[in-house]
């Protein structure tokens, strides 16, 4: 029995020693982002940072001035082992420093070949889960997107979901509009079909698409929170705090890998829901973190 305890103790020591050494080695992790004047964006960034800090309490936070980014000097003072850049601009600025190899990206849309980190693209499985939970009558989910900007990470494996996911990729914006328009005009059916519009759909086209969908009672959703005001039924966006945690955990891994946002939260446009005939109870523990109109 003593042997067992002794080996257990030795095992613990062995397990603990490398961990402690690894912690010391990756002990300095910095998060970098520009000064944000927009309160909504500033709140999102703050939530992400909180999420990261919940995993990495010793996180070094560097907020730089966009006009005078003295990032190299500031990073040199702390010599971080990993640098988490929040926003595309922060990524670009960090890539100009000598810490470009230790970069983790976050809070914008990017692909795996571009940078390691957590993209704003929502995990497809998470999206399907949310849709099936919130819109149980859905049979088909149409995913229209531009190849250069993927708002939803398409799951490779069979998700065993009652909803059929249909990818509709397009080479450019014009094709996106064309495919989306034809989809709404001709293919999509009310209630049972849900169309996810691309997050970068031009504003002037957005009105036309929404008007057309409104007339035909087609359910539109988006991964861009801003689209909610225009008139999509709901938007499903990554949860900033959870995304922060996801980033923190990723920073602890030795390999810099790419991940989609694995957790989401949704917002609802009540006017559209009324028009489409969906009934969402106004309960306390709500599925929607935001309801407008």
């Amino acid at each position: 029995m003593r042997k067992i305890y002794r080996w257990f103790f030795i095992g613990l020591c062995l397990l603990n020693t490398p961990l402690s050494a690894d912690d010391n080695k990756k002990g300095v992790i910095a998060v970098v982002y520009p000064t944000e004047l927009n309160p909504a964006k500033a709140n999102i960034i703050a939530d992400v940072v909180k999420g990261i800090q919940s995993v990495l309490p010793n996180l070094s936070v560097i907020v730089y001035d966009s006009d005078h980014p003295d990032l190299q000097d500031r990073l040199d003072k702390i010599h971080p082992d990993k640098v988490i850049a929040l926003s595309k601009q922060a990524t670009v600025v960090t890539q100009e420093t000598s810490y470009r190899d230790k970069l983790l990206c976050g809070l914008y849309y990017f692909q795996a070949n571009h940078c390691g980190g957590v993209s704003l693209a929502l995990d497809g499985a998470e999206l399907l889960r949310t849709i099936s939970e919130l819109l149980p009558k859905t049979k088909r989910l149409f995913l229209v997107y531009e190849n250069s900007l993927v708002g939803v990470a398409i799951p490779k494996a069979d998700l065993r979901s009652p909803i059929t996911l249909q990818n509709i990729p397009a080479k450019d914006t014009i094709e996106v509009i064309k495919l989306l328009g034809n989809l709404i005009e001709n293919t999509a059916r009310p209630i049972e079909d849900v169309v996810v519009i691309p997050p970068n759909l031009p504003e002037d086209i957005m009105f036309k698409v929404l008007a057309s969908a409104w007339d035909k009672h087609i359910t539109l959703t988006s991964t861009n929170l801003g689209h909610l005001e225009y008139g999509v039924l709901m938007t499903t966006v990554p949860d900033p705090y959870e995304m922060g945690r996801q980033l923190g955990k990723l920073a602890l891994q030795p390999k810099l890998s790419w991940q989609a946002a694995l957790t989401s939260k949704s917002a609802l446009n009540r006017l559209v829901s009324r028009h489409l005939g969906f009934d969402f109870p106004e309960s306390g523990k709500d599925s929607f973190f935001l309801r407008i109109k």
Binding site: S148, T173, I174, I177, K178, N182, D204, K208
Partner: protein, 505 residues
């Protein structure tokens, strides 16, 4: 040329003033109209460009979807707008998509300023806007892609109506201002023109020698000063004019007195000369007669007969010379007093020449000159015989007097211009150009000294010139010192050569 009255001047002044005002107002109104038209056109263009932009934005979605119905509906929505005649959509290749049956064509030519000024309700105004769609590139940059064009064809009817109203208002404004100006000028004309009209009136009276005309207008200090200065100027001019007139009268009087004195002296001189000559001539005839009697009384066998004969001839010659000189003085006085009356007769010219040659024969022999005469001996002349005789006689006498042992050639002929040409040429002492200028003056000789070589009064050539002038002829002299002299006289002879020949026959 009819002179304008002071009323006409005022009317002309008012007319010019109104005309100037009309031009000024018309120009101003035209410029204002131009500015309004330009502003209106620019605003209209801007408005319709914005409208076309909205149309382009509206039609973009159905155009991307290639939805003919959507495009047609959008175009129809925009055609419903007032003044929009057609809303046309073209694809990126410029092919018209909607409407299919539009027969309206929008020309690219720009509106001229005249069309902007006076738009016609028939005019069309076209606005085009491209349709762009932003495309995201892989490099995260956005480019604009042209996917088509929209075109609005707009009627100018409303714009034309507006401009017509504006022009009407402006024309009414001009008319009102002109009427007001006309009224003011009519009522307040004196205020505007009194000064000028008064000055013109006074100046005209002044020009017509109406004295004591002065302007009386008054007003501001400047006007009063101008009035006083103007009146002072007129007074000064009048005073200077009076002084000038007095001076002219005085000078005229003096000149008249001098002229009268001169004429009286001339007449007195002529009378004296004539009287003296006449009183001298009568005793000379008596002397000549007495000499003749004395010569007849001398016995021819007397020893000194030849000597007496020589004295007789010399005395007779001297008396003849004296008579000839007195005759010259008398004839010159007669010519100077314009008391000679021409008497034109027809005669054989050679007869007159023979008389003259005979007269000068003695002088010619005395000076040992050879006299040669050549010319048409059958030539008949119609002229004053006495004057012609004086001319030839004096010229021969002059040549004989100033030629010693030389030749004197008298020639004559009738020119083709019905002119009798008489030439007297000698080989005498000749004279300089300066001398030629004085030889025709009365009582002038080249050598005026008492010890001069050639005697005479200096009247011969003066009589020749006066006689030639009286006969409407002319005289010319060609001479050089030591080389002789040529006098050439041209006198009109109305008798043609044929007639002279006939008469001669």
């Amino acid at each position: 040329m009819k002179r304008p009255t002071s009323k006409n001047i005022e009317q002309t002044y008012y007319r010019d003033l109104l005309f100037s005002l009309l031009i000024l107002l018309t120009l101003s109104v035209f410029l204002v109209g131009l500015a309004i038209a330009k502003y209106s056109h620019d605003q209209s263009t801007r408005y319709w460009e914005s409208y076309a932009s909205i149309f382009a934005s509206e039609v973009k979605y159905p155009l991307i979807l290639h939805s003919s119905i959507g495009i047609a509906n959008s175009a129809a929505n925009f055609t419903d707008r007032k003044n929009v005649i057609a809303a046309v959509v073209y694809d990126e290749n410029g092919q018209q998509i909607s409407p299919n049956n539009s027969s309206l064509i929008c020309h690219d030519e720009k509106n001229t300023w005249l069309m902007e000024l006076f738009p016609s309700s028939q005019d069309l105004f076209c606005v085009r806007q491209p349709i762009y769609q932003s495309i995201n590139n892989p490099s995260d940059q956005t480019t604009k892609n042209k996917i088509g064009t929209v075109e609005l064809i707009i009627s100018q009817q409303e714009n034309a109506a507006l401009m017509n109203k504006i022009w009407l208002v402006l024309v009414l404004f001009v008319a009102t201002v002109l009427l007001a100006a006309y009224y003011i000028i009519r009522k307040q004309s004196g205020f505007l023109t009194n000064t000028i009209v008064q000055m013109i009136k006074v100046l005209r009276n002044f020009k017509n020698n109406e004295p004591n005309n002065r302007v009386t207008f008054s007003g501001s200090d400047d006007l009063d000063q101008m009035r006083d200065t103007f009146n002072d100027m007129l007074t000064s001019i009048e005073r200077n004019e009076e002084q000038l007139e007095q001076a002219v009268i005085l000078k005229t009087k003096e000149l008249n007195q001098a002229l009268a004195g001169s004429q009286a002296a001339n007449r007195y001189k002529t009378n004296i000369m004539a009287t003296v000559s006449h009183e001298m001539k009568n005793p000379l005839h008596s002397i000549l007669f007495a000499i003749e009697l004395l010569f007849e009384a001398i016995p021819r066998k007397q020893e000194k007969y030849l000597t007496y004969c020589e004295h007789y001839q010399r005395s007779k010659l001297l008396v003849h010379d004296l008579v000839r000189s007195i005759d010259a003085i008398l004839f010159n006085a007669k010519l100077s007093a314009s008391e000679y009356h021409k008497n034109s007769t027809r005669f054989l010219f050679v007869d007159l020449l023979n008389e003259c040659l005979l007269n000068n024969q003695v002088l010619c022999q005395k000076n040992q000159n050879t006299m040669i005469s050549k010319g048409d001996k059958s030539l008949w002349v119609q002229s004053d015989r006495q004057l012609l005789r004086y001319i030839v006689d004096n010229l021969l006498n002059n040549a004989g007097k100033f030629t010693q042992g030389g030749n004197i050639e008298l020639s004559w002929h009738q020119s083709q211009h019905s002119e009798l040409i008489i030439e007297v040429k000698d080989t005498g002492c000749g004279m300089s150009q300066q001398d030629i200028e004085i030889i025709f003056e009365e009582f002038r000789q080249i050598d005026m000294s008492l010890t001069r070589k050639y005697q005479g009064f200096g009247l011969g050539l003066a009589i020749v010139r006066q006689s030639a002038q009286l006969l409407d002829g002319h005289i010319a002299v060609d001479s050089a010192i030591g080389k002789g002299t040529l006098f050439k006289v041209g006198l009109p002879n109305p008798l043609p050569l044929i007639e002279t020949g006939h008469n001669a026959a």
